[in-house]
């Protein structure tokens, strides 16, 4: 399964200036797997997005189809083909 992730401009320093990334999750289908796939593409980004136990960083909001995953199932949020994932600094919601 391929998932497209879009990053806010403020995160470009962690994504080699990319604003968009396509990750192939194979058979996996949850947000934690997507984060691992992103970290393989952009080493170190996992530490920006969450801690070792997959607690979402306070400074980050991750959305699946517009919904903040904090209010869904966190990193256990299921993903399906064509889902839209956006990652933005939480300050934007202020």
């Amino acid at each position: 399964m391929k998932i497209t992730v879009k990053f806010a401009a403020a995160l470009s320093r962690y994504t080699q200036s990319s604003k968009i990334a396509v990750c192939d999750l194979g058979e996996k289908n949850d947000m934690a797997s997507l984060i691992e796939a992103l970290d393989a593409k952009f080493p170190g980004i996992k530490k920006v997005l969450c801690d070792e136990s997959f607690e979402i960083a306070d400074s980050i909001n991750i959305y699946v189809n517009g919904d903040n995953i904090r209010y869904v199932e966190g990193f256990r949020t299921p993903l399906k083909e064509n889902d839209q994932v956006n990652i933005i600094p939480a300050a934007a919601a202020g």
């Binding site: 806010a8 300050a91 934007a92 202020g94």
Partner: protein
């Protein structure tokens, strides 16, 4: 109606009636929200862009807001450097129960990136320990004592605003 007061960081788009004090845009199907409903349901679609891009979008939203199909919007006049976003943000406000129909309008205007934030999220970030309050305190170079006083002030302000859950929501004291 676009309300562009140069002394404000934000540029607002409100229905004219709201500006004239004859209408409150914070409602659902014409009924004002209680404090409880506000915390449960009120929120915003977040849109990123340059001030010019958001200004053009505001002009396109204005007729929808005047027709009360969208409650209201606001956007940054300029980038807030302290927040390190690198872009300005527009908030398009509405109740959770109408957010899908409002998203359809935004999508028809070319918006693609979908991010919904509840107002309660924003408030939590402006309470003691919240990411935004602490960043703001740090940016102002406050002493430890001043920072603590400010945290207590913020906490008390929010407590007073929402202590009666069934009262009609009267707005955020800025």
């Amino acid at each position: 109606m676009i309300v562009n007061n140069p002394t404000s960081h934000f540029i607002f788009v409100f229905p004219k009636d709201h500006v004239n004090g004859e209408y409150n845009y914070i409602n659902y199907k014409g009924k004002p929200l209680t404090n409880r409903e506000y915390l449960q349901n009120w929120g915003k679609w977040l849109i990123f862009g340059s001030p010019e891009e958001l200004g053009k979008l505001a002009e396109k939203l204005d007729p929808f807001i005047e027709a009360k199909k969208i409650p209201a919007a606001k956007y940054d006049r300029e980038i807030i450097e302290e927040f390190e976003l690198g872009e300005c943000v527009m908030c398009v406000y509405c109740d959770l129960r109408q957010r899908d129909e409002i998203w359809e309008i935004l999508a028809s205007l070319g918006i693609e990136d979908k991010a919904w934030a509840y107002e309660r999220e924003t408030m939590e970030r402006w309470l003691p320990g919240g990411h935004l309050l602490e960043k703001w305190i740090k940016g102002r170079g406050m002493s430890a004592e001043q920072a603590e006083q400010f945290r207590l002030y913020a906490k008390e302000k929010f407590r007073r605003m929402f202590e009666d859950e069934d009262a009609i929501f009267r707005g955020i004291e800025q």
